[in-house]
C-alpha cells in the first residue's frame, strides 16, 4: 500500500507537469450523471464535518506513563506550521519529564541531511523530523540506525524503513481526507456544473496529494463539475499568485470557487480579486490565521484546518507508545487528526489558538493527559 502511495506521488507530480500547459481538466464528462448515492454520502459527511470535532481521535491509553529522562532532538523546518507543531511537541514531552532540543534546518538543499547527522551526533534517545523525503536522507538515517536511535518521521509521503518507526501519522492520508472533504462541500453547496480553480504548490508532495484527492472526489460526486489547475512556484506566493488567480478568473468567468491546497497560497489574492471587481467563493485546506479571520469577516467561504498543537501532541504520544512497546495503531481512526469544515456561519464556534490558528478541540490537553495516565 505504501509502495503504491509512492508511485501515486510520482504519478501525480508527472501528471501535474504534463497538464500544466493545458491548465484545465474536466472533472468528469459533463454528460455523465451524478451518482445519487455518492452525493448522499457526501451530504452526510459534510453535515457531520461542519460540527466541531469532539475528540482527538485516539482512545487507547498508554500501557504505562512514560519513563522520565529521555532526550529528543527535533529537526525543525523553519516554516510557521512546523514551528508551531514543534512547540506543541516540546510542551507535551515536558509532561513525561523528557527534554527536547530543536535544531532548525537551513534553506540549503543539503541542510536537512546535515541537521539530522548533527542530531545523531548528539546521541539523543530519539529524533523527530517532518516533511522531508527519507530517500534524500539515506546517509544520516543509516547513521541513526547504526547508533540505534529511533526516528519518528511525520508527514512524509514515502515508505518508512531503517530507523524510522511507523507512527501512523501520515500527512498524505490527512491531506487526502481534507481534499475529499472540501470537494464534497463544494459539490453539496454549489451543485452540478460548478467550475473550480485549484491553486497548488507542487513543490510540496503532500499538497499535490490534497489537490489530487480534491479533483478525484469532485469528479466522483459531481461529474459535471470542472477543475482548473493553477500551479504556483514558492516565490510566486504573495507576488505573482494574485495576478495569476485573477487572470484565471478573467479567462473563465464561470469559475465559482478558488480552492487552495494550503492557506498560505492565498496571500494577497483576495485584495487582487476584489480590485478586479470579481466575485468568487474561496476555500481550501490548511487554513492559516488570515483565512480564518476572512471567514469571520465573511470574505472567504470554506476551509478545513490542520491543528498543529494536536499534531505536536500526537507526535509525543507516538513516541511514548514506541518506548513503551505499545501498539502504534492506538484504536479509533488513528490515522487522522481531528478536522472540520469551517464556514462564516460556523467559525464563531470553532476552537482557535491565541494567535488565531486552527485548534479544533480545545480539550486536547486533558484528553492526552488522560491517555498518558497523567490526570
Amino acid at each position: 500500500m505504501q509502495k503504491s502511495m509512492k508511485l501515486t506521488c510520482v504519478g501525480v507530480a508527472l501528471a501535474t507537469a504534463l497538464t500544466a500547459c493545458g491548465g484545465t481538466a474536466t472533472a468528469g464528462k459533463s454528460s455523465a450523471k451524478a451518482d445519487p448515492a455518492k452525493l448522499a454520502d457526501a451530504k452526510t459527511l459534510v453535515a457531520s464535518s461542519l460540527k466541531n470535532p469532539d475528540s482527538i481521535g485516539i482512545t487507547n491509553p498508554l500501557s504505562k506513563t512514560p519513563t522520565a529522562g529521555k532526550t529528543i532532538i527535533v529537526v525543525g523546518t523553519p516554516s510557521p506550521v512546523a514551528e508551531l507543531k514543534d512547540i506543541a511537541f516540546a510542551d507535551a514531552i515536558k509532561k513525561f519529564g523528557w527534554t527536547s532540543k530543536r535544531l532548525v534546518v537551513g534553506a540549503g538543499p543539503e541542510d536537512e541531511a546535515k541537521t539530522i547527522s548533527q542530531a545523531v551526533a548528539l546521541k539523543p534517545d530519539a529524533i523527530l523530523f517532518s516533511g522531508a523525503a527519507p530517500s534524500t536522507l539515506a546517509k544520516p538515517l543509516a547513521e541513526a540506525k547504526a547508533a540505534g536511535i529511533p526516528v519518528l518521521a511525520e508527514t512524509v509521503t514515502e515508505a518508512k524503513s531503517g530507523p524510522i518507526f511507523d507512527a501512523s501519522i501520515d500527512g498524505p492520508v490527512f491531506e487526502q481526507y481534507a481534499g475529499k472533504l472540501m470537494a464534497d462541500y463544494v459539490a453539496v453547496k454549489s451543485g452540478p456544473n460548478t467550475n473550480v480553480a485549484v491553486v497548488n504548490l507542487p513543490v510540496f508532495n503532500v499538497l499535490t496529494i490534497y489537490t489530487k484527492a480534491f479533483t478525484k472526489e469532485l469528479s466522483s460526486v459531481c461529474p459535471s463539475c470542472k477543475v482548473t489547475k493553477l500551479d504556483q512556484q514558492l516565490s510566486d506566493v504573495g507576488t505573482n499568485t494574485p495576478s495569476s488567480v485573477v487572470s484565471a478568473l478573467q479567462r473563465d468567468p464561470s469559475i465559482k470557487w478558488v480552492i487552495y491546497s494550503v492557506g498560505d497560497l492565498s496571500t494577497g489574492v483576495d485584495t487582487a480579486v476584489k480590485a478586479a471587481g470579481i466575485k468568487v467563493s474561496v476555500g481550501g485546506g490548511g487554513a492559516n490565521a488570515a483565512n480564518l479571520a476572512a471567514l469571520k469577516a465573511g470574505t472567504e467561504q470554506a476551509w478545513t484546518g490542520l491543528s498543529t498543537p494536536i499534531l505536536g501532541y500526537r507526535d509525543a504520544d507516538m513516541m511514548a507508545r514506541y518506548f513503551n512497546g505499545d501498539p502504534l495503531t492506538p484504536g479509533g481512526d488513528a490515522l487522522l487528526l481531528p478536522t472540520q469544515i469551517m464556514t462564516p456561519a460556523t467559525i464563531g464556534g470553532v476552537a482557535l489558538t491565541s494567535a488565531g490558528n486552527y485548534l479544533g478541540d480545545a480539550g486536547y490537553e486533558q484528553q492526552f493527559e488522560k491517555l498518558w495516565g497523567l490526570s
Binding site: 500544466a20 500547459c21 493545458g22 491548465g23 484545465t24 523553519p78 516554516s79 510557521p80 514551528e83 508551531l84 493553477l230 500551479d231 504556483q232 512556484q233 516565490s235 510566486d236 506566493v237 504573495g238 507576488t239 505573482n240 499568485t241 494574485p242 495576478s243 495569476s244 485573477v246 487572470s247 484565471a248 478573467q250 479567462r251 498560505d264 496571500t267 494577497g268 483576495d270 485584495t271 487582487a272 476584489k274 480590485a275 478586479a276 471587481g277 492559516n288 490565521a289 488570515a290 480564518l292 479571520a293 494567535a355 488565531g356
Partner: protein, 348 residues
Amino acid sequence: MTISDKTAEAATSRSTAPNGSAAGARASRRRIGFGFNKFSGLYLWAIVIVFFAIRLPQTFGTTQNFKIMAGDQAITAMVALALILPVAAGVFDLSVAANVGFCVCVVTRLQMHGMSAPIAILMTLFAGALVGVVNGFVVVRLEVDSFIATLGMSSILAAGAYWITGGQQLVGGVSQKFLNLGQNTLWGISYPFYYMLVLSLVLYIIVEHTPVGRYLFAVGGNMQAARLTGLRVDRVRAGALICSSALAGLVGVILAASLGSASQDVGPPYLLAAFSAVFLGTTQIRPGRANVVGTLIAVYLLATGVKGLQLSGAPVWVNGLFNGVALIFAVALAARGARRQRASNAAA
C-alpha cells in the same frame, strides 16, 4: 572598475573605449531622435497589446483588464522606482526588497501591539530609512562595495523579519482604515496604483528637473570627475541609499495594507523583477541611464506580456520565463542597434 560600472555597462552596452566607437554610438542615438532605440519598449508594448487584444478580445481587450493590470503592478513598479536613485548614482541597493518585507512585518507588528496606524506608519518609514543610513555608512565610510554591503543587509533584514514575526504569519490587529489604504479602489483601480503614479511624478521631477538629479548622474557617470567638481560624492551616494530604503519602507507600508497580513517572506521575490525593470528601463527614453518613464514602460511591458500569456492559459512559470527572455532580448537589441550604428559611422 566597480561592479556597478560593469553592470551598467552590460545593461546599456555602452562601450567604454575612449572616444571613437562609443562616440559614434552616442552620436547615432542622438541623430535617430525618435527612432527605435529610444522607444523600442513603447512600440513593443503597443504590439503586445494589439496582439493579445485581437487574440483575446473577451478577456484581454477589456477596460476591466487594463484596470487590473494597472493595479497589479503597482508594488513591483514602486520597488523598481526606489532603485532608480541608487542605480543612477552608480550604487546597488540589493537590500531594497528585503527591506520592503521587513517593513511589512514592522508596520503590522507595531499595530498588533496597539500602536495607532499613523504612528506605526511613521515609525516604519523611519525604520526603513534607518536601514539606508546603515547601508550608506557601510558603503561610504567603511568603503564596502555596495553590492556586498546591501547583499549583507538583505540577509540581516530577512533575519529581522523572521525575528519580528517569529516565523509566523501575522494576522489581524490592524484597523480596517489601515487596510483601506491598500485595498480600496478608485475608478476601478486599487489605491496603490495612484501612490505609484504620485511617486513616479515626484521621482521624475527629482531625477530630471532638480540639481539632485544632476548630482546623481554625475556621481554615477564618473565619480572621480564628480568629486573634482566639488560634489560631495559620499553624501550623494549615501543619500541615494537612504532614499531607496525610505521608499522601501513606504512600499512596505502599502504592501502590508494591501495584503492584510504579514510574513517574513513577502519582500524578497520583488527584487529580481524590480532590477529587471530598471535595467530594461535604461534602454528606453533616456538610453544609457536609469529613468522613471523607461522603468515604468519596462514594468508594464513585462506585465502586459505576462498577462496576455496567462489569459491564453499559460502556466505560472511562464511569468519568470517571459521576464527573463524579455530583459535579455531588449538589452541585446539595444546593444545591437548601437553596434550597427557604430559600424555605419566607422564606414562613413
